[in-house]
Symmetry: C2
Subunit: 376 residues, 2 copies
């Protein structure tokens, strides 16, 4: 594997891809730009959106085809949605067995540095590594955790790596669907290690935990202090806690923190049946502890496959995904209904003031909802 | 307040009430009995279900009227539902300010003994105390945590107390609605301390946390061992942890356990903003520590009212209740739809096997759902 596989950053096709993917927060604000992209898609409709061709190239390992497929999956346009479903039906049986790893941590825990170092290590071992991000904050801030092109520059250049910024726009539920479908596309393209990064905003960790095999929490030294500010229940989602920045003068403190975490973990139920969650130290900067961590993940996979927990979790995740999508669609139909929208604010205020019983308010809302056949 | 207020257990009206409420698990199994009760209601429809009369008696402190109102609230019959809503509209503005206290704990923690001792203490102080139960397991086992008439016998006899067993039948969501509406009925009847008991099954603690001001976890001695088997996240819901059975030879161990809990609590975010959750010891058997616990709850209320956290939480709870009822009703409409019911099992299997993308399965289900105008 040499330079011939290296992506050409000046490639015009790649450039187009950048417009749609590296500035996700801008899309909804700049309708003009969105339209330009739509036109490009329409113009090249026969050539570019030939689903079979994209699928064939993607499965052959073509990264531009994979980027295009993901852009299609992430698109909010109705016709793209249909095409994306068609594409996924092709790709689904071709997805390679992979290990899906979720990574979270407070800001400053060094997630990017860690993912870059860990990703390069795996790429050098011969794995194909895809990095995805779930960033519910991007819709609020207009930014994106992987939006910065300069991040993970060395990993991005590696022929075995594929980096995709967080999907743009839409609800958290939408991000959910898109990331899961992007996972399938990456697996069909032969990526056998998926690193899914998230920031600790709202329900994002729970969401990512619900789509990965192994979930990792990146922590800083000084467990006691940090735990005070740590999101409730987050430790109970983790299959491993990794204390990064165990380098230089920080080594002693990192080891102490590691012990503290292990003490607390003793009081918590493990996130995965039959697996004792433990804390580890590493230095993404010097590359120490990363191979040991990979061994832990390998061990986790082996044990889980033996006991059936691994497959069981994936089946459960598929099922939960189905039901969460149903719920999301139902709620959208209800809360977007014009009649419901009209009366909900005043009814909600009356319920809070204690003037109207909740059941009665619900009845009134459903009467409105039934006035017109709901658009679902 | 003397014996004249004591419930007459042989009163035929009260007896009728017992049939409908003290054997909730039996209702659905014995249609004959259910029908008998329906007939009784129908027979006396004008006299007995005069909503204004029930409301007036209930507000006047008549416990039989309160029992009747709750039976109406808990009824699954459609005409009763309408009448219950009518009744609640009357009662809502008459509800007295109360403190709603949730109590949970592992089996064997001594919940009944604790509630009885704590309830009698409060009754003797002049408070009117209502004890309710949320027991999602009753639908499965046919039993009920408060179903046993012999439990809390002394409290049941106290003129200031009202004990209601857990609502029968229906989904967890249904229990939810019924308990919340029962709370309103009790407050309209002048009960100013509500003790809502739950067992650690499924989502019941989260549900009860969502309807009370103060949430209490009853624990046993030996924190380390017990925590291993304790439900995840349960400590993070609590405003106080109470180590019961701190009596006799157990006192030293109880105090040690209390310190252990306080150490762990140090690492958790408090359940209520501005309130540090702490562990306490008590002995329901000897009545020690109960007055101190009541002071803690009083302090909690005062602080919360001062800071606005108390009112804020109640408003949020009302709002969440509204949205959870909407979601429940929507999902019932969807999953009870004949077309959806017909195709869901095979589609779910295909999704799990990886033959059909989730989005496509959802689309097929919604096409079925739209075939007929859904019954919502």
């Amino acid at each position: 594997m040499g330079d011939q596989n290296r992506p050409e950053w000046t490639d015009p096709e790649k450039e187009e891809n950048f417009t749609t993917t590296y500035m996700p927060g801008l899309k909804s604000k700049h309708d003009g730009m969105e339209q330009t992209n739509r036109k490009r898609f329409q113009k090249k409709d026969n050539a570019e959106l030939d689903i079979q061709e994209i699928a064939a190239k993607l499965v052959g390992g073509n990264r531009i085809a994979l980027s295009k497929a993901i852009t299609l999956i992430e698109s909010n346009a109705k016709d793209h949605y249909q095409k994306a479903q068609e594409l996924l039906t092709y790709l689904l049986p071709l997805a390679v067995p992979s290990i899906r790893i979720g990574i979270t941590g407070v800001p400053g825990a060094g997630k990017s540095t860690f993912i870059e170092a860990f990703g390069i290590l795996l790429c050098e071992m011969g794995y194909k590594v895809a990095v995805l991000a779930v960033d519910p904050s991007s819709t609020v801030t207009g930014g994106s955790i992987l939006g910065d092109k300069t991040r993970m520059e060395n990993l991005a250049r590696h022929p075995n790596a594929f980096i995709r910024p967080s999907p743009s726009g839409g609800t958290l539920g939408g991000v959910h669907r898109k990331t899961r479908e992007t996972v399938i596309a990456c697996e069909a393209a032969g990526y056998d290690v998926l690193l899914i990064e998230t920031v600790g905003v709202g329900q994002s960790e729970v969401m990512v935990r619900g789509m990965v095999d192994f979930f990792m929490l990146l922590a800083l030294t000084g467990a006691g202090d940090e735990l005070q500010g740590m999101k409730k229940g987050i430790m109970e989602l983790a299959d491993a806690i990794v204390i990064n920045k165990a380098d230089g003068e920080n080594v002693t403190l990192a080891r102490k923190t590691c012990r503290e975490y292990n003490q607390i973990l003793h009081f918590l139920l493990p996130a995965t049946k039959g697996w004792q969650t433990r804390a580890f130290t590493c230095s993404a900067l010097h590359g120490t502890g990363l191979e040991a961590l990979w061994s832990v993940i390998q061990k986790f996979k082996e044990k889980g496959e033996e006991s059936g927990v691994f497959t069981e979790r994936r089946h459960l995740q598929e099922k939960e995904w189905l039901y969460s999508m149903i719920r999301e669609k139902l709620e959208n139909a209800f809360f977007d209904h014009p009649g419901v929208k009209r009366i909900l604010p005043s009814l909600q205020a009356s319920v809070i003031k204690g003037d109207v019983p909740v059941s009665k308010a619900v009845d009134s809302l459903f009467q409105e909802f039934q006035q017109n056949k709901p658009e679902v």
